[in-house]
């Protein structure tokens, strides 16, 4: 049987892989997004779902997180979170 090696061809960095390395874009509302969203899931859910949602799309996502998934996001924080997501991860 053909035996294959683990090949690593070009530069690689080795480090502990975890969600701590995720860096969201800097901007107003980032801290709110990090503190609220990362309670239940890694922040790469935001990165990977970009950039194709418009403001309505991010509002719908927030609404699903709060109403269906039980995310304890204070009502007064919702507009700033949507604003950040739409501005930095919207289409």
């Amino acid at each position: 049987m053909k035996r294959l090696l683990l090949l690593v061809l070009l530069p690689v960095t080795a480090a502990a892989a975890d969600e701590g390395q995720i860096r969201l874009k800097d901007g107003a509302g980032k801290a709110l997004v990090e503190s609220n969203c990362a309670t239940c899931h890694s922040l790469d859910y935001i990165q990977t779902n970009s950039p194709f949602l418009d403001k309505k799309g991010w509002e719908a996502t927030l609404s699903k997180m709060v109403n269906a998934m039980g995310a304890p996001v204070p009502k007064e924080d919702v507009p700033a979170i949507v604003e950040y997501l739409n501005r930095y991860y919207g289409k």
Binding site: A17, E19, H41, T48, S50, P51, L53, M69, G70
Partner: protein, 411 residues
């Protein structure tokens, strides 16, 4: 987390392989991509190769819940090895289950005799059944939908073909006695969300007819080994022909119920619009006026040995390899076109592992001229269904079975 091996390609030059697995030559010459270029740019940028404990590096889509897909090159093997099999979870707490103390609780108001079964009970008290079957996430290829829809942005790798060993769910339920008022069977795994927030627990149900189908298994082995933690240790449901959402992992309870189960992951999640898809299997107790739970997989295929843009030498034959599958009717033909779909030629079908497994296929041709050329593959099944030439849009991005098109460069 700190036990993970982590590899990240700084300039994109990364290749992985596994002992004994015949990766195609292109994998040695080209960087391993994070998926098709049609994926959202944010997906391609945030994905990386990462190894969960006990796994080889896979394409990480999200860390928590862990969603990792298998690089397509691994699909050139008949069975997908356990340590590269895709991982898909919905909620963040996924406790490791101790086999010695694990019990599977069988109950529900429509069951006569509640039981608790240990792993030994399962192994000793029921007939052992082996079944090759494809497990594919309902959202496989969601990331290829245009326009994009939210969710885990899977490329082609949220699937795998394995040899499952377990016992028939039917045999277990027969022993416990199903009452005549039973309408659905409900399955829960050890995973959970945050209780304080009432995150919906991942719980799924099956209609009685599918639960009692002779091919529906409680599986405790995969490819000759215990299930990996990330694929459902110590036991998971195997629902051949149906999408992966029903293949509940790390099983803890099975309840036979007299009323349709209502839970977030049954309704509104994992739904398709009524009447849009050619699916045969119905889940009538869960249907509404507008939608229905997703059920059997639609007929589909994937080219596994050629990457977009790959170069070939002029005058040399091109070998195209792939896999094809459907919801359990069996693949009848796979056809390949190298002229933009004007003409189609039959591919050679490979080993038949049974109607629930994928079917390998291959096709060899000699390009007539230099330049760019598209290779397309189209599978049809034994009940006359064929892959779609126009994507069937639906809100959650399920059942992507658009005919695949790969462009190669000759010369």
């Amino acid at each position: 987390m700190n036990r993970r091996n982590f590899l990240k390609g700084v300039s994109g030059g990364l290749v992985l392989g596994g002992a004994g697995l015949a990766l195609p030559r292109m994998a040695l010459a080209a960087p391993l991509s994070m998926g098709p270029a049609e994926l959202p740019s944010g997906t391609l940028e945030s994905s990386l190769l990462d190894a969960l404990p006990g796994k080889k590096p896979l394409i990480k889509r999200t860390f928590r819940a862990p969603n990792y897909e298998t690089p397509v090159a691994y699909f050139n093997a008949l069975y997908t090895p356990n340590d590269v099999f895709f991982v898909r979870y919905h909620v963040m707490n996924i406790p490791e289950v101790a086999a010695a103390t694990w019990k599977l609780r069988i109950g529900g108001e429509a069951l006569q005799t509640p039981m608790e079964l240990s792993l030994d009970d399962l192994r000793r008290s029921f007939e052992r059944v082996e079944l090759p079957a494809l497990c594919m996430c309902a959202g496989n290829r969601r990331g290829l939908f245009q326009p994009h829809v939210p969710g885990v942005q899977w490329g082609n790798g949220a699937m795998g073909n394995a040899r499952w060993v377990g016992v028939r769910l039917r045999d277990v339920l027969d022993k416990a006695g199903v009452r005549k008022e039973a309408v659905e069977v409900v399955f829960d795994g050890a995973d959970s969300g945050i209780a304080a927030y009432k995150t919906p627990d991942f719980v799924k149900s099956l209609p009685m007819w599918k639960a009692l189908d002779e091919n529906t298994l409680i599986a405790f082995e995969m490819n000759g080994a215990p299930l990996p933690h990330w694929n459902g240790f110590p036991a998971r449901l195997v629902v051949p022909g149906w999408v992966g959402t029903y293949w509940v992992k790390n099983l803890v309870s099975i309840d036979v119920v007299a009323k349709p189960f209502e839970g977030f992951w049954m309704k509104p999640a994992y739904r398709i619009p009524l009447g849009k898809f050619p699916n045969v299997d119905r889940f009538i107790t869960q249907e509404t006026a507008v939608n229905t739970p997703i059920t059997d997989m639609v007929v589909n295929s994937l080219i596994t040995n050629i990457e977009e843009g790959q170069r070939f030498r002029p005058g040399q034959p091109v070998d195209v390899k792939g896999v094809a599958w459907d919801g359990g009717y069996g693949i009848r033909t796979v056809e390949v076109s190298v002229d933009e779909g004007q003409s189609w030629r039959p591919a050679a079908l490979g080993q038949d592992l049974g109607r629930f497994a994928w079917r390998p296929w291959s096709y060899r041709f000699k390009p007539a001229r230099r330049g760019k050329l598209t290779v397309m593959a189209r599978a049809s099944n034994r009940i006359g269904q064929t892959q779609t030439a126009e994507l069937i849009l639906n809100p959650a991005g399920y059942h992507h079975n658009l005919i695949q098109k790969v462009t190669i460069q000759v010369g």
